[in-house]
Amino acid sequence: MRNLIFSFAMLACGLKAQPTVAPTPEPVGPPRGENAGTYNVLNSFELGYRFRAVGGDLGKYRSDVNFGNGIKLLGSRLQMNSRDGRGRFFDELTLTTQGIGGDPYQSSILRLEKNKLYRYDMSWRLAEYFNPGLRVSEGLHALNTSRRFQDHDFTLFPQSAFKLFAGYTRNSQDGPGLSTIQIFDSRGDEFPLFTEIRRQRNEYRLGGEATLAGFTLNVLKGWDNWKDDSLLNVNQRLAGASTTDNTTLSTFRRNEPYHGNSPYWRLFLNRNSRRFGMNARYSNVSGRRDFVVDELTLGTDRLAAARNRQILVLGNGSRPVSTANLNLAFHPTARLTVTNHTGFHHTRMNGDSAYTEIDNNTTAGETVNFSFLGIRTIETLSDVSYAVSKTAGLYGGYHYSTRRIRSRQGQSFDGFAESQAFEQDNRVHSGLAGLRLRPMKALTIQLDGELGRANRPFFPISEKNYHALNARARYRSRVFSASAQARTFYNTNSTTLFSHSSFTRQYSFDGSYTPRGWLSVDAGYTKIHLDTNTGIAYFAASQLHEGNRSIYISNLHTGYFGARLVLGKRADLYLGYSIVRDLGDGRSASSVIPLYSQTTVADASPVFLAAQTFPLSYQAPLARLSIRLHEKLRWNVGYQHYSYHEDFAQVFYQNYRAHTGYVSLLWSF
């Protein structure tokens, strides 16, 4: 029976993680592994061929999905455990991989451990990111980059009262991108610039932990180095984005090496006892960056005059950050828990950059810009949780924060200096109350609400007067589970001559049913409604338009369905479907006013008076068949279709339909 339940759990795993068709989740090989010497070995490798055929906008497909053609090691798992815990070099080795050999999302995770002596964790990930400058957001900045992450953590004496840590993290990004530059002044034309992105972050960590007399002290020291050596070059005559502008660009070169480091300290002290817990954390980071920008531009300006401009910028930025937290937890009885969290955070951002512009061999003079932004936040969060009975519990809390933002912006030019300093405070009070019910063992119900008041938010769309309501119910038995959830969040941030409101409502239902060992089904539906209404101001034909509104309405309906059938004793069939539909504000596509059609001043207002609504649909049905050829061998085939369709009016649609799939062998040896 226990094995049966375990099998059901495994089936449910496969169902819930449906969205991509491969790798195959079915297990292969003996479940208990095979013994080799003093080790037990579990292993599986899935090698297969992925294919795709895309109709429509390939760029949008690559941005959303990006699976391609070719042979891949779709997934693998190797686990070796010492059965007696006394392996010579290691007692545990776990290595899992996914998508190796060209998938856009590849990963590899390794754990190596020798009991009492060491533990080593490594993760490596690679993401191929493609953005063709998607048009809805009108982004002209295309990227086709690879980002690689690796983390290494080594612990010496992991089970003793005294431990040592060492770690290394590397994050690199490289590849071509398309950027833009506006020349020669703020009314000049914009030009595309190809850029070669080369960014790298290296972080080194050393630390230790000691436990003595019930106290645990954890100390970590890190060095975080960053460099950006991306290149921007143009050596051909380019036309700008505007057809009516005379600006041309014949040569452009920008070098802007940007290097720096952020060394940090972190201290953590912990004491945990039967009725009382206390821990404190302090960290300090002293970030600093140095930079040089050397930019050379040759061409003609918007008045058709020949221009030869060099810009030199030198400077540095620093951001020391201090954070401290104190947590206190009292649980005098098994029913009552009282906690308090007090935090302090202080960020000071300083920067200065000396700007020199040389136009047609005439130096305009050096301008030194300097800026300071300081944010100090203190918050205290007190919470209580009380179990009234076996079937009911209450919880609540009062949260308070005060934030002070100081800023200074200044400029110095030819001995004349100007500086402005500002300071403002913002306090937030928030209360939370909730109720937990468990009328029967399989059923849990939770209701809570939060009310918050801020006196002076920093931004027009920040939270000011907000309340949130949550309700959740869940029923769970061995063959059937169902849950329902409703969440709403309302925020208004209005002042005398300005208003902003934001309403979010989310309703979800889902369930899974496993009536037989050979059949499992799950399905779910979620509605996410967002509508915001914000006052805006903008210029059209040099006239300021105030009192207009930006109204954004999104009505997202999402659903998924998955069914898994075991056919005979050898075949597993999985059928799945997921859909996202944004119905906008309910209007048909033809009645939505195009955003970019205005040609006169009088027409400018409707740009924003029209509700911004972008109906679209995104569907991904899939089917996968896995046949057990042998205890150690499975043959798999799968197909997944992606369909993206925009129902709003714009000049270029980005719709696509993609047929993707794979054939693979999953084996254990």
């Binding site: 759990a9 449910a12 819930k16 991509t20 208990r32 941005s63 686990q79 545990e92 996914q98 995770i109 754990r111 998607l134 957001s137 900045h141 506006q182 703020s186 954890n218 975080d224 984005a241 940090y264 970030g287 960056r289 920008v293 810009i311 910028v313 930025g317 950050v321 937290n325 649980h331 029913r335 906690t339 969290h341 951002m349 920067g351 200065d352 810009n369 936040t377 969060l381 949780s385 924060s401 912006q409 913002n426 937030v428 939770q446 801020a454 920093f458 920040s462 959740r472 002042t495 996410i528 006052g535 059209a540 034909a541 954004y552 999104s554 997202l556 997921s578 996202v580 955003l595 993206y644």
Partner: protein
Amino acid sequence: MVQILLYLVLAGTRAFSQTPSPGPFADAIAKASPEGYVGNSVCRACHPNIYQNFFRNPHQKSILSGKEPPEKTGCEGCHGPGRKHLEASGGKTTIPFAFSLMKPAEALDRCLTCHGKDFTRADIRRSSHSQSDVACNNCHSIHNSPVPKSLLARQQTALCYQCHPGVRAQFSMPSRHRVNEGFMNCTDCHNPHGTPAPTWRAGLRPRMVTQALANEEPCLKCHTDKRGPFAFEHAAVRVDGCETCHFPHGSPNPKLFRRATTFALCLECHNGAGNFGRNGDGVTVQAPFHDLRSPRFQNCTTCHFRIHGSNADSRFLR
């Protein structure tokens, strides 16, 4: 009379059945410590399924160390002394700490006996999960974990989705972080065991979002080029965080934007409304030459392309 005799016979049988049969455990019961600890090897006789695979379980280390006291090692380290369980010849109710029968808070207390000193669990008592009675054994399956790491009851995303269907829906959007693709996990950005108050926004929300080592938003762990420090920081990034402009999980809009068009995103803050911004007289309105009728001015980041922060220009133009 027959009924009385029958009752006596049945009662006798029932009483006999409840009497512990020392059998193979008599020796173990006799050797039990004064607190009732009998040792792990006794458990394997009746629970071979658990025992056979236990060498893969991280808790095996407590047995192998050979130095841990009985209350901190093996089966009895978690479930308590086993003498009563042996004397009763089994039964869940005779296990001092049977997790399936324990209240969530009790299960949490039990696990924290050993796991409470870890840095990553410093905030577990005040976490939203603890408040909601989600205890350790709701997410971790100590004896039957199908995943190789952390003894999770399911693959991590599936585990989180079962209580957070709305988040699952967000990760189904066209523009999304690649969680469903297996490239990243929920715990890359969240700590299910609770986190300190955020260092961005007003410090109260969002909850359960982990922080990068410099106590920054977790987004900057991967998107390091947005991190800075810059000579000119875009205040929105530092004051209210990345969520000012982006949905973190998924969005129907490209680049995880909160709005489908760039100008709507920018103008909702840059509207000059009083009381807001650095100097309290509004976040700067654009200059008059920006003619919003023209597409070139509707794409703010075409020119202001260093929008996350710049070293050379306070308007993020270079």
